[in-house]
């Protein structure tokens, strides 16, 4: 997985610091109960300190240090959040720079070519604008007339221009992209300020951020734990009075703050923002944090065969001649029929004929041939040359073609058998016929992407089921499915079949992820728990999905799942770490607190901390510093390697659970040594 270093060349010290200070606003703090509680008691401690200064009580240096570290705890939490947001802001700024003042040629409602220049901000849904070469598209919309090449690098980072045309699945244009050639008429679909780019900016900035369901549940848990520690700490003064001692307020507050889960409380929102940003760096935009969370939970991945599992094109791998036909004869006929066929399949036939039989491609123009392009009606392509009629097409198509001939011929059994054999092997059979005689079959093979089998095995280990969606017949589909190692497949799939499959999976309680680009994918994208729309797709598809892949790479679904899981693991790991830390803090503070009452409790001071004051201060310092130390981890996410849940849990429990138990013992001891060395206690 791509990760970028957390240390940036120009660390935004000032921005981060001022953002952290701004976040001290109680209205912002209250969103985070643990840090809010910390701020509350820090305020109380500060007030008490002010009173003590007036009355001139001793221990002012100690109190002042504790209070300073309490405020640092709050500030560090704000810093973590500001840092996470800062990274998004940088990305947003880059996006916004494309958002210059654009003017638009708004066509009159009455129709015709008359237009008026208006600022892009005045455009409303339904307006039609004309965009010409060199101009920026003023807003999101649908091409309703014309074809143009568009530079979408502002959004995708991909410099190669893409074609946008009216009708079909390539009709969506995005505000802020530039038309390079030709002119198009665009019907605006999103009013100014609510376009795709605007939403993107808002999302990466975290402005529109809402707590995800799991974050909310975790916040409740943390708030509950905070309440428990309120009870645990509030009862101590009374216990101390019973024992004939006294616990100072500042010590009690220090104990409280170190016990409540400040670590995870401070980092929780940073983890969430960083997760979204990781997706953005992967060129995937999620419309909500909820979608990222859902990605981690996905049980079933629906993957389109073409482009995801196989390379987009099939390649000819063999000529299977009919009985009595020379293979070379078949190859030659196939080559001639494919000369004008510019599809990858067609080209691969020409290449195969050359490599197998040394048949050089001939000059098409010199042949004075009449080429028949592939048409949806005949479902064949071919060529009429020298009085011969060469045709190639699917088995059914050629069979129909032969039947329509004057003498109503049929396909020889051997050819049909050969075609079936190819299909069973996962290939696509093309039958080649000359003058109404089937010469044989060309074996077109789907080329499975390198390494995809291993990735599916990986997904299986993660407990995710993969389903291949294909328009192929079941035989072919089964063979490819077996070769690619997917768990299941849906053959001869129509868009409504996809939708039905998603519903069926969801009825079993499973979460489904899919990607799609066409308008007819929109219902399925909307139904899926994680619907990744391709940036090249239609506006409808982009609206229906909850993520948009700017690279339009369907394989990314797998990375998206991994990012979702990484986000959740990071959250769990830091929660576990935070709670486990408390054990050591108790061992530091409790003996320090009560040793004057029960001297024998000194044996609990297993870290041999210098003095009660140094023990309490060290625990408080550790509690604050650990937040800063873990910020990089929160932003980067914990390491994630696909593995079964049990393995992951065992490893993470060992690292963050056991580590969380041990680390503070070491940390507090070191801080204690340092504090004593400096002479602060």
């Amino acid at each position: 997985m791509k990760t970028t270093s957390t240390t940036q060349p120009h660390f935004p010290w000032r921005e981060t610091a001022s953002a952290a200070l701004r976040k001290l606003d109680p209205r912002q703090l209250i969103r985070n109960p643990v840090i809010f509680a910390t701020a509350l008691v820090a305020t109380a401690a500060t007030a008490l300190f002010a009173r003590d200064v007036m009355s001139g009580t001793a221990q002012l240096l100690f109190s002042a240090q504790i209070i300073a570290w309490l405020w640092f705890t709050v500030l560090f939490a704000n810093v973590a959040e500001a840092l996470a947001e800062g990274r998004g802001k940088a990305q947003a700024a880059a996006l916004r720079s494309t958002r210059q003042q654009t003017r638009a040629r708004r066509l009159a409602r009455s129709g015709g070519e008359a237009y008026a220049w208006v600022p892009a901000t005045e455009l409303r849904s339904g307006d039609v604008v004309q965009v010409e070469a060199g101009e920026l598209v003023p807003g999101d919309g649908e091409v309703i007339d014309g074809v143009a090449t568009v530079d979408e690098s502002a959004i995708t980072g991909e410099s190669a221009p893409v074609v946008r045309e009216s009708g079909g699945d390539r009709s969506a244009v995005t505000g802020g992209t530039r038309v390079l050639s030709d002119a198009i008429k665009v019907r605006i679909t999103a009013p100014a300020g609510a376009g795709f780019l605007d939403r993107m900016i808002a999302l990466v900035e975290g402005a529109a951020r809402q707590k995800t369901p799991n974050e909310m549940a975790l916040t409740v848990l943390l708030a509950g734990m905070t309440l428990i520690f309120v009870l645990a700490c509030a009862s101590i003064p009374s216990f101390a009075i019973y024992a004939g001692g006294k616990v100072s307020m500042i010590v009690l507050i220090a104990l409280f703050v170190t016990l409540i889960p400040t670590t995870i409380g401070a980092l929780l929102s940073a983890i969430g923002i960083a997760g979204m940003n990781r997706l953005v760096r992967f060129n995937v935009l999620a419309t909500s944090g909820r979608a990222v969370e859902a990605a981690g939970d996905v049980d079933t991945l629906l993957l389109d065969k073409t482009g995801t599992i196989t390379l987009g094109n099939r390649q000819a791998v063999a000529f299977l001649p009919a009985p009595g036909v020379d293979e070379r004869e078949l190859a030659e006929a196939a080559q001639l029929a494919s000369l004008a066929d510019e599809t990858p399949e067609g080209r691969s036939i020409v290449v195969l004929a050359k490599t197998r039989h040394g048949l050089r491609p001939r000059d098409v123009a010199a042949l004075r041939a009449r080429f028949l392009p592939f048409s949806a009606q005949t479902r064949m392509s071919g060529v009429d040359i020298d009085g011969h009629e060469l045709r190639k097409g699917a088995v059914d198509a050629v069979r129909d073609y032969l039947r329509t001939l004057a003498d109503g011929r049929v396909l020889p059994e051997a050819v049909v058998a050969g075609a079936d054999g190819v299909a069973k092997a996962g290939g696509t059979p093309l039958v080649v016929a000359r003058d109404g005689r089937a010469l044989g079959v060309v074996h077109l093979k789907d080329v499975i992407k390198g390494g995809i089998r291993e990735r599916f095995a990986e997904l299986r280990r993660m407990g995710i089921r993969t389903v291949m969606i294909t328009g192929d017949n079941p035989l072919t589909a089964a063979a490819i499915a077996a070769e690619a190692g997917v768990d299941d497949f849906l053959a001869q799939a129509r868009p409504e079949d996809k939708l039905a499959l998603i519903r069926a999976e969801q009825a079993d309680g499973k979460l489904v992820a899919m990607c799609g680009d066409g308008t007819n994918d929109a219902p399925a994208l909307a139904q899926a728990d994680v619907g990744v729309a391709m940036q090249t797709g239609t506006q409808a598809a982009r609206e229906a999905g909850n993520m948009v892949d700017l690279d339009s790479d369907p394989t990314k679904l797998i990375e998206i799942v991994a990012i979702g899981k990484q986000l959740l693991i990071t959250r769990g790991a830091l929660t576990t770490f935070s709670v486990a830390n408390d054990v050591a803090k108790y061992f530091a503070i409790l003996p320090a607190m009560f040793v004057t009452v029960y001297p024998s409790l000194a044996v609990l001071n297993i870290m041999h901390l210098h003095s009660p004051q140094s023990a309490i201060l060290s625990a408080t310092v550790f509690n604050a510093l650990i937040i800063l130390l873990l910020v990089p981890l929160a932003l980067r996410g914990v390491k994630y390697r696909p593995a079964p849940a049990a393995t992951l849990l065992a490893r993470n429990l060992a690292v963050y659970g056991v580590g969380g138990l041990v680390a503070p013992f070491v940390g507090i001891k070191l801080i204690d040594l340092a504090l004593c060395a400096i002479g602060l206690v």
């Binding site: 549940a217 975790l218 009075i241 049980d299 407990g463 009560f594 029960y598 994630y640 849940a645």
Partner: protein, 569 residues
């Protein structure tokens, strides 16, 4: 420590495990409403009773209706018992002509028995008439236990059912549990106890002259019948003040073993009912495994602490070379007494066969911690199970994220609502225990009840409120609890400690029952293996421990460290 002592612990666990499967299977059939071998006999009784009460047994209740029925039923039980206690002098079966109970004591006792706590701020033989014992206390022993089991059933349905809005029918569960489980077992159990020498009669005090020539009044009564349900229902309220240390309640080592087994029997079997209900018995085994591991460690620790004779205290006669025998019955010895103490506090039973107050600091800390952890180690009938499930939910929620999925247990997503309710339930114990102990520490009425000063006196108060809030009912002795202050505050702790946990748990059951379950895959956290057991134990200890560590440090830990260093606690 002796080999025999350790063997007793091993034998006990082995016998318990033998009981789990048959009892679990039997109760699971009741849980789903299938026929059992007792049905031909008791089926008509069950149907008749339900018809008489005007209840349609097929009607399923929403969790709130289930909770309302449970609360109403328990309120009725409270009113009835309070009435009996306040009027026993005028009612029959009062051979000793005992007077009515004072309002505060009657209130405390009624709450205590309705909540399955059986905290006893009175001495049974000198306070309760036979009618109050049999018709009042024993009846509540049955019904509070049945209530607990019914609630466990409702919670199990929450995990096992999918997409329903109901969690069963309280009246049906209550009736079935009482008729098919508690009554038949107690009938046999009581007969067995009678055979072992436990009295069962309506006799007045018997005046005797002892060998030393002193005059003594020997109390008897319907002991065996009450003893059976006291143990099986993890009630713990003894017929006699000395509870199971009294030879009439617990005459021999065999009866002692039987008692210990019967405390854990139903609680342990409920984990198996759970496993069967969710279609994977290993799920139940994992829960039981976590419980028993905690139990064995606790029992071992207590036994070790009680066996070791602290060098600083060897001059005390009761602390012989063989260990700390103060407050223990020589009939049972150190191993069985330690085991009994750990069992009775692990479950919310509260019956005692030794004085926990006399345990060493560490030996007494284990029972105290057992109670504070919420009595989830097998636990009270039903209560222990749902207490452990509370921890399981929290454990899964905290660590479940670490497998890269939002947390789910048995295929059900744990979301904000469940966590909110779970935290509500978790907060009850610290609020009651720490809150009231803190109060008792500073008001004269609270301090007046202590037998000891210093850390030990603190432990006595802490133990009392822990015992009440945890519905345990065992006492650290030492504390004179029959004052208005303790009667009322302990009653509140018992009441809140029971129902403020039950109602959120039922709400969780309702929320879970409505969810669909995601089928398990390699990506879901396995909750039936050793890893989950370890995780669950860690969460119980860390979560429970962190809450109460300051109080433990000021009580038993201060005492123990003082003993180690030879100082005054």
């Amino acid at each position: 420590m002796t080999f025999n002592g350790w063997l007793q612990i091993v034998v006990y666990v082995a016998l318990l495990l033998l009981l789990v499967r048959p009892l679990g299977g039997f109760m699971h059939r009741l849980y789903v409403g299938e026929r059992v071998w007792l049905t031909p006999l008791l089926g008509p009784v069950e149907r008749g009773m339900l018809r008489l009460a005007g209840i349609d047994g097929r009607e399923q209740q929403h969790w709130s209706a289930y909770a309302a029925a449970m609360l109403l039923f328990n309120l009725g039980g409270f009113v009835l018992l309070y009435g009996i206690l306040r009027t026993q002098a005028w009612l029959p079966l009062n051979p000793q002509h005992l007077p009515n109970l004072a309002p505060a004591l009657a209130f405390n006792t009624a709450i205590s028995f309705v909540t399955n706590t059986n905290w006893q701020a009175y001495g049974g033989e000198s306070t309760m008439s036979d009618l109050a014992q049999m018709g009042g206390l024993a009846v509540q022993n049955f019904l509070s236990a049945a209530t607990g089991i019914a609630l466990a059933f409702a919670l199990i349905r929450g995990f096992a059912c999918r997409g329903t809005t109901t969690v069963g029918n309280f009246w049906v569960d209550l009736t079935r549990v009482t008729l098919y489980v508690l009554l038949p077992i107690c009938l046999l159990y009581a007969l067995l106890l009678i055979a072992l020498g436990v009295p069962q009669n309506f006799s007045d005090y018997t005046p005797v002259t002892t060998l030393e020539g002193a005059r003594q009044l020997i109390a008897q009564g319907p002991v065996a019948s009450q003893e059976a349900i006291k143990m099986l229902g993890t009630n713990g309220g003894g017929f006699f003040n000395a509870n199971s240390a009294h030879p009439f309640e617990n005459p021999s080592a065999l009866s002692n073993l039987l008692q210990m087994l019967s405390i854990f029997a139903i609680g342990a079997a409920l984990t198996d009912v759970f496993g069967r209900a969710v279609g994977n018995r290993r799920q139940g085994h994992a829960i039981l495994g976590a419980m028993l591991l905690l139990f064995v460690v606790g029992a071992g620790l207590t036994y070790w602490a009680e066996s070791a004779a602290p060098s600083a205290l060897t001059h005390v006669t009761a602390l012989q070379a063989s260990g700390n025998l103060e407050g223990k019955e020589t009939r049972f010895g150190i191993a069985a007494s330690s085991l009994y103490a750990v069992i009775t506090t692990a479950a919310s039973c509260g019956a005692v066969d030794a004085m926990h107050d006399s345990f060493t600091a560490l030996g007494g800390a284990v029972p105290l911690l057992n109670i504070m952890l919420g009595e989830v180690i097998v636990g009270g009938v039903g209560a222990g199970f749902y207490g452990m499930m509370l921890y399981a939910l929290i454990a899964i929620f905290m660590a479940g994220l670490m497998v890269g999925r939002t947390p789910e247990y048995l295929g059900k997503k744990i979301e904000t609502r469940e966590i909110k309710l779970a935290m509500l339930a978790v907060l009850v114990a610290p609020l009651m225990i720490l809150g009231f102990t803190a109060l008792a520490c500073v008001v004269p009425a609270g301090l007046a009840g202590r037998l000891n000063d210093g850390a030990h006196g603190f432990s006595e108060m802490l133990y009392a409120y822990s015992s009440a809030a945890g519905n345990n009912g065992s006492a650290f002795a030492g504390l004179s609890a029959d004052s208005t202050f303790y009667d009322v505050t302990l009653a509140i702790a018992m009441l809140v400690g029971r129902f403020a946990i039950i109602v959120p748990m039922l709400a969780i059951a309702g929320a879970l029952a409505a969810k669909r379950a995601v089928p398990p895959s390699a990506g879901t956290l396995p909750s039936d293996g050793g890893l989950f057991v370890a995780l669950l134990i860690a969460v119980v200890l860390v979560f429970g421990g962190l809450t109460f560590l300051p109080s433990l440090v000021l009580g038993p830990v201060a005492e123990h460290t003082a003993m180690l260093t030879g100082g005054q606690p």
